[in-house]
Amino acid sequence: MATEFAFPDSAAKNAAAAESQNETMSLSMGPSHPSTHGVLRLQLEVDGEVITKADPVLGYLHRGDEKIAENMTYNQFVPYTDRLDYLAPLANNVAYALAVEKLAGIEVPARCAGIRVIVSELARISSHLMGLGAYGIDVGAWTVFLYTFTEREKLYTLFEELTGARFTTSYTRIGGVARDLPNGWTDRVLAFCDQFLPILEEILALLHRNKIFLDRTADVGVISKEDAIAYGLTGPNLRGSGVALDLRKDKPYSGYEQYDFDVPVGTKGDCYDRYACRGEEMRQSVRIVRQAIAKLPGGEVVARDARRIVAPSKDKVLTSMEELINNFMITTEGPQIRPGEAYFEAENPKGILGFYVVSKGGGVPWRMKIRSPSFCNLSILPKLCQGEYIADVVSILGSFDFVMGECDR
């Protein structure tokens, strides 16, 4: 029932009448809004509570990473890859190194490949923990966040010990990794896995049979199989819609074919399926980590024979003039990569992260394109949000688990 207000003049009254008939109102959600997970801005057009149009506005975190890459040697760019998907820096480091190695045509030793699998999977667990925890907050379940952060902290302690930094790991180098595993590190990882599984069950039990959570997620933001493929979704967002695409299975790299694990897929493609896929993926990651540690061979962690790409070890630099000069050459000119181009994509926690590297020879890429999963995943938002309630937009955004660091790069 419309309330009658006393308007001072008839013009204002007419304007107010026109407004109430005007169906839509525009609403800016973000760029600083707690549920947009960073600096995403959604320009919404709403009719009452219902979205009639949603426009994602990107670029608030644009740093020009692709251009930066053209101005530095391949190894100098490794710290920048930390800052793409900053919730799983190790996985980015690995994907980047693999891309350049593909272009260079070098093989890393088996131990290095094993280590890369272990750290990628641990990064996946830590990223999904964060995703799940933040999703919990988005839909009103605070506790989950506290649980997942506690577990993530344990992982960060392990990362810190391995790489020297908790967050910005910068762990890989072209042709290897920066350091070998510290003594007893694998035992501590296994101990983490053992205590993590029961806690993971406890965390998931907080959500997956919870009526409030189900009301907010089940049948909300449904993406059909066809749409998911058409919009180029990847990762848990694609698998939630029932497409079993996982590059670790379909195009194995780093020796993923040796490990036994399952790929979870959803049946409906709603927010709940996307959430549940992440939960299950963590269990599978633990399986992979255990197998990779059991199979981890000894030996070098860098491809020593690639003399023009991998810098010599420190003791050699300190004692031999030739190695010293080689160290200077590789540092100043960069790892010498043959001319050509290569595209490599890896199954990252958020989806498929691809690097397209073009080299004209020498130690600096001529062009580098980064295909970031978050960017591609968000492309479906305008379609998905249409006809949903504002409150459900929060639920949908959370279920995408995107990171603006890699979306805007």
Binding site: M72, T73, N75, Q76, F77, V78, P79, Y80, T150, E153, E160, E161, T163, G164, A165, T168, S170, A178, R179, P182, E202, A205, L206, R209, N210, K211, I212, L214, A218, G240, A244, K249, D250, D260, F261, D262, V263, P264, V265, G266, T267, K268, Y272, D273, A276, C277, E280, A311, K314, V317, L318, T319, M321, L324, N327, F328, T331, T332
Partner: protein, 181 residues
Amino acid sequence: MAVIQIERKPLSFAERTYLPQIASGLKTTLKHLFAPTITMEYPEQRPAVPAGYRGVPTLVMDPHGREKCVSCQLCEFVCPPKAIRITPGSVPADQPDRAHVEKAPETFDIDMLRCIYCGLCQEVCPEEAIVLQNLYSTVGYTRGEMVNDKKRLYELGGTLPDQHFKWDKKKAAEEAGNDRH
């Protein structure tokens, strides 16, 4: 390929009433009430920093208290955010036993507002002269205070107990007349 489908069972009546969840939630709360705390009272308590931690980059001296850096500027070159500024100079005249080293930095500044603690400088240094230490909190009131100059870098860095004595060996070889380079 092993694919597992996410199962979706409809909620039972008991689950829909939300009562069992409240009971099990309270059980979990009780369990955690008596579990040891996991938070830390920073800054009174500080986390243990593991070996190989990448903290503040500093310059170090050799066990005889001599400067190790030969101002080759490799760290300056490699530093991705260009945090290091070096002016090369010669070895001070009051250090005759190091005269054969020829070069030393005249000034050496690391801008801690630019540094991203990547550790590449330490990795490439051919003298093990620049080392990332365990320090992780640096504060200052001005931008100028956040630039560590050479004096400050040595204060923070101290001495590294390594036993390479690369240049002493080179000097000995020179004096023995079998210096190839």
